[in-house]
Amino acid sequence: MNTSGQETYIQSPDFEHLAEAQSLSEEQWLIAFTLAKPATTDELASACNLSPNATAQAVVELLKCGLIRKRTLTFKEFLAKRNGAQPAVEKTESVVPAIQQPVMEQAAPAQPAAAAEIISIRIGFLPVSQASETPVFITRFGGDRMPGFVATVEEIRPMPVSARAKPKKPSTNSPMKLRPVINAIETKGGGGISGQLLVYRVFLRVPFGSLYDEGITSLKLVDENSMVRNPDLKAAILDAAREVAGVELAA
């Protein structure tokens, strides 16, 4: 699970302009200037010799006054990070499980072990709107090296996503209403202050930077229309609800 200590922050683009108007504590300035380079709160705590709580608190205040922001990745940076972290084959499998699996089943249903010998598969998803116009090519399987592997697929034409095999896990990309989640945890905690303290303990496990980015600065202000759109934040809330409060909620 992503924790608040793993979120990365950096100075805002207009840091110098904003800084002129600010009056902050020494610790907050120290953190603000350390964030000339991206750093997580864990790294900041270590670099500035501050406690995790004091660091987190300072980061929240710096986010509020706009001096820093949570660092996001461009698509290129994201891919570069993944390339550095995982082997190519694993990467391909994890990115496109929905389309790869049917191809494998069609090609060699009785030889599941052969799938592990495939050298490379390159498959890309296209938006449905482009699906009828642009073919997706995949490289040849190593047919000679895979006895019993009958089919060699060189080209497939993409079909609408709805017609492809569904992923095993439910999608977590749709926004989640937050109020029902809080209500469920409160109820599990017996209601009243006790129930609200259980909600507190659950949200202590949620990355506070992501809460801030979603505009959630007070759970009291969460109403029936409050939505969580960030899939990572949504997953973190659901994980914390399950692990801390034993509340299972559908994604």
Binding site: T3, S4, S51, P52, N53, A54, A56, Q57, V59, V60, E61, K64, G189, G190, G192, I193, S194, G195, Q196, L197, L198, V199, Y200, R201, F203, L204, R205, F208, L211, Y212, I216, T217, S218, L219, K220
Partner: protein, 154 residues
């Protein structure tokens, strides 16, 4: 009241009735607790705050914060003539010390309730720090406002 056999953060809810009992016993009037909130950022402290550091399965502090108006009203109840800052800060310390003593009895060995500390300048003592998320419950005693705060380490 028997010691809690195990302790969770939710057990800290006991601090609300303990605070209620303190005010009710001394003045005959119980405070009314309002709707709690969980807020991101620095806690909003009134001028006077008494802190109760806690350690155990949960770690952090519980605090009661209130203004000089509430303090002066309580000093009247206690028939204390002085109204200087030191007396008011001592009152904040006395309130949370009493609550802390009852909390020790309630939790037994399951939670270490450390000696209470008080501030009179809307600040947190140097040896305590606040969680990025603060739990707070406002209360009203007679015509005066205060709040119970809980800050736990994630």
């Amino acid at each position: 009241m028997t010691p809690a056999p195990s302790l969770s953060a939710e057990d800290l809810a006991v601090f609300a009735p303990l605070a209620k009992r303190y005010f009710e016993t001394l003045s005959g009037d119980a405070p009314e607790f309002g709707e709690s909130s969980i807020d991101l950022g620095e806690p909003e402290l009134a001028k006077l705050t008494g802190f109760i550091p806690v350690e155990g399965p949960v770690h952090g502090w519980v605090a009661i914060t209130f203004g000089t108006d509430l303090a002066d009203e309580m000093l009247s109840v206690l028939e204390e003539p002085s109204r200087d800052e030191e007396t008011r800060r001592d009152l904040a310390g006395e309130i949370v010390s009493t609550i802390a003593s009852n909390a020790r009895w309630h939790f037994g060995k399951h939670l270490t309730v450390k000696p209470a500390v008080a501030t009179a300048n809307a600040s947190i003592p140097a040896d305590l720090d606040a969680s990025p998320l603060i739990f707070q419950v406002p209360f009203q005693w007679r015509a005066f406002n205060g709040a119970l705060l809980i800050s736990l380490t994630p």
